[in-house]
């Protein structure tokens, strides 16, 4: 019988009827961070996650908005406040330096590229904006070359006691699809 199954497998196809999901308008709800650190709109159907233990340890406060995975990679928007006491970055310049350049301080080439850092405004707040595109391998320890190209978009907003980062991470194939969600979050972003 297993042999029969193998025969069937050899002629099987998985073609199903093409299904077009209905176009849904993304609903949003207001999110307010503790201590009035920031408020923004968050998409209703995305998961909101916080790690309070990590926040108190690293002095980095924020939320992760998780959208639908694609191409074996997450679609995420991070809205984060890095206090002056944070354990990771000296200041906003350090953050920008590390996220807008390759390991050698350049703009990358081939499958790793970093765009220029530009001044901009995020809901009337002065900010730095830059993007990157990188090929990420899904199996760092094996010979498999399976990979996904991810794009990231950053808004970095320096303030007196630290800096905010609005960070959008998604596989390139769906980056544009969910970009309006990121813009909605960013355009509604307010600090204390």
């Amino acid at each position: 019988m297993l042999f029969k199954l193998l025969i069937l497998l050899s002629i099987a196809t998985l073609a199903g009827p093409p299904i077009k999901p209905p176009v849904q308008k993304e609903g949003f709800k207001k999110f307010a961070m503790d201590n009035k650190l920031f408020t923004c709109l968050a998409p209703e159907k995305w998961e909101i996650a916080r790690n309070k233990e990590k926040e108190s340890k690293e002095k980095i406060y924020g939320i992760e908005l998780a959208g639908p995975r694609a191409d074996k990679a997450p679609v995420v928007i991070y809205v984060t406040f890095y206090s002056k006491q944070n354990k990771i970055f000296k200041d906003h310049n350090d953050f920008i330096e590390r996220n807008s350049k390759d390991l050698f301080g350049g703009k990358g080439d081939g499958d790793e590229r970093y765009g220029p850092v530009k001044n901009t405004l995020v809901n009337k707040l002065k900010a730095f904006h830059f993007e990157s595109e990188t090929k990420e391998y899904l199996h760092p320890e094996s010979a498999s070359e399976e990979s996904v190209v991810v794009k990231e978009k950053f808004y970095v907003i320096p303030v007196k006691n630290g800096f905010y980062v609005l960070h959008y991470f998604a596989p390139k194939s769906v980056f544009l699809k969910h970009l309006p969600v990121f813009y909605k979050v960013a355009s509604s972003f307010k600090t204390r």
């Binding site: 980095i60 639908p68 498999s144």
Partner: protein, 589 residues
């Protein structure tokens, strides 16, 4: 004058006091009839996998705490079931792209199988029970229902609706077993293509790339498919530099033979651009006789490499951390063997760090050196050690994790947290070496063009450097999505142990004694993987089950270990100077 209490009075007062104490203790511990009724209702609903009831139960903290005190086994079982149901609901409620049935299938296969918590609430191991559950509790739309059917590899979806031959047998298979069968079939199909005379034109490449069956390949199969596609691409691009007679030499050959012939054609040729093409071919083809590592050279090289690796990592933060371990507690034992698809691994059973022979042979082909060269030439050996050193730091961390658990005599499942730690240390090491070692920098800058291994080391380091706080997310959601977290692994193991202990309570004393005398003990249990432990809980002694359960209930011990290593790696990265590593001006080696 004081009057002494009579003995009778003293006894009466003591009795009263004791009664009062007992009453107050009893009052605090006993559940009210109402609470017992609610608990029974929760149990009934959760046992039929009602997600709303599961959520409500877990949020009823007063009740949960009470049950934990009064009946810890009952509480553990109910909490485990409730968490499993909520976890499943969360997984399926997510927005899934319709083309991601394979990803969904893998996620479902680790939840719906033999000896999984969902089995105790009526979901699995038969995959179709999931459809009963979605029908009852979730009103998903057509698109999602179709995706779920594809994810569980429903018979009609895989084989179509024209036949029912084999349906009964197929429906007895778990999702994991169905995927394994499909992977085997895909592997057979791939082997057929690779072993036969192979076209290499773009049309054929696209057909192979888009062949529906290949999406079921497991990770080793996918690696072979990717290599095959890369080889075909390389053959096609090489043809532009070849004469007609040379191209004709490739006709009618299987792909590996074509690569072999091309290697000979480009070897020391004067073809324009041939050097770069040759390197690409050398990286992708199999080794010729003379390019492999003989048994004798393997023994020599392993020993020499062991010393060279220790020398190479010295002076770096992550490297010194590993060396301190080897100097005080650990034994370093390096071997070169086929790793079957991985670059390197730590093998606890033999306490060895094994480097993949094909990884080293590929390096040798690209560098045009032999095993003899490595054995006789210290510089060449040193460069190989440099090349392998990031993986050495990675695997040394796995060895340290095993030693940590052994020293404390605790069971440690293999989880995402282990890889987050090892990858963080590897990335930290790479960043420091790129900054301070020009030869290391030049080697990897050059090799990344021909070797995915080298490219991966750099990309991993960059992901860590960008934001070490978010690096664990990347590891969990991209690199190690298929491995359980510690929370998930311990929950699964605890559920299996609790069920087995409950089963044993119903056995006769003779049966229980027999199990205790003939069953596997703690020493064997501690070496088991998650799957082995959950699958053979009934073969372990009760004392072994209790030991593992006690270990995993002390979660803080494990959490503290992982937290400490994260803190260490972040502090180490900060202390490495802010100046960026420079692109090395050392000429290509």
């Amino acid at each position: 004058m004081k009057q002494r209490l009579s003995d009778k009075t003293f006894a009466a007062i003591t009795a009263l006091l004791l009664a009062a104490c007992s009453a107050s203790i009893l009052f605090a511990q006993v559940m009210s009839p109402e609470e017992l009724k609610i608990l029974a209702e929760y149990e009934a609903e959760i046992s039929s996998a009602n997600p709303s009831a599961a959520k409500k139960f877990l949020e009823d903290l007063n009740l949960v705490d009470k049950v934990k005190i009064l009946e810890p086994d009952r509480a553990a079982a109910l909490v485990s079931k409730a968490q499993a149901v909520i976890d499943l609901e969360t997984l399926l409620d997510k927005k899934w792209n319709k083309s991601h049935d394979h990803e969904l299938s893998l996620a479902l296969s680790i939840r719906i199988d033999f000896d999984k918590p969902l089995g105790s609430v009526g979901i699995g191991p038969e995959p179709e029970t999931l459809l009963d559950w979605t029908d009852k509790y979730k009103k998903y739309g057509d698109a999602k229902n179709t995706l779920i059917k594809r994810g569980i590899r429903q018979f009609e979806v895989v084989f179509g609706t024209d036949t029912v031959d084999g349906k009964v047998e197929w429906e007895k298979l778990t999702i994991r077993e169905r995927n394994t069968m499909l992977a085997e079939k895909a592997d057979m199909a791939l082997n057929t293509l690779i072993d036969k005379p192979s076209p290499t034109d773009k049309n054929f490449q696209d057909k192979v790339k888009n062949y529906e069956l290949f999406k079921y390949l497991d990770s080793a199969g996918r690696a072979r498919l990717e290599k095959y596609l890369k080889q075909m691409k390389t053959v096609e691009s090489s043809k532009k530099s070849l004469s007609t007679p040379q191209i004709q030499q490739l006709d009618g050959l299987a792909i590996e033979q074509q690569m072999y012939v091309l290697g000979n054609i480009f070897d020391n040729s004067r073809i324009k651009g041939g050097a770069v093409i040759e390197l690409r071919i050398d990286a992708l083809r199999q080794s010729r006789p003379g390019e492999t590592i003989s048994y004798q050279n393997n023994q020599l090289l392993s020993g020499l490499l062991q010393t060279a690796l220790a020398r190479e990592i010295k002076g770096t933060k992550a490297g010194d951390r590993a060396l301190k371990f080897y100097q005080s507690r650990g034994k370093l034992n390096v071997a070169i063997e086929s790793c079957r698809g991985c670059y390197a691994k730590y093998e606890p059973s033999s306490n060895r760090i094994i480097f993949d022979s094909e990884l080293i042979q590929q390096y040798m082909r690209v560098k045009e050196i032999t095993a003899e060269d490595l054995v006789k030439n210290k510089n060449q050996l040193g460069l190989l050690a440099k090349y392998l050193s990031p993986m050495f730091v990675h695997e040394a961390n796995h060895q340290m994790q095993h030693e940590w658990a052994a020293k404390r005599n605790v069971y440690k499942p293999y989880t995402q947290e282990d890889e987050i730690e090892a990858n963080s240390m590897e990335a930290l090491y790479t960043i420091e070496k790129l900054k301070n070692d020009a030869k290391f920098s030049a080697l990897f800058t050059n090799m990344k063009k021909f070797s995915t291994y080298a490219d991966k080391r750099l990309k991993l380091a960059k992901r860590f450097e960008k934001n070490p706080s978010l690096f664990p997310d990347a590891a969990r959601q991209m690199y190690y999505y298929g491995i359980p977290s510690f929370e998930s692994a311990s929950s699964e193991i605890l559920k299996a142990i609790n069920e087995e202990l409950k089963r044993r309570k119903s056995l006769s004393k003779e049966e229980q004694d027999r199990m205790e005398s003939s069953g596997l003990g703690s020493a064997d249990a501690m070496k088991m993987t998650i799957r082995e432990l959950t699958g053979s809980a009934n073969e372990l002694k009760t004392s072994a089950l209790m030991k593992i359960r006690d270990d995993l209930l002390h979660k803080e011990l494990y959490a503290e270990h992982y937290r400490n290593s994260t803190d260490w790696s972040v502090d180490a990265l900060n202390s490495i100077s802010a100046s960026r590593p420079s692109k090395s001006r050392v000429p290509v080696l």
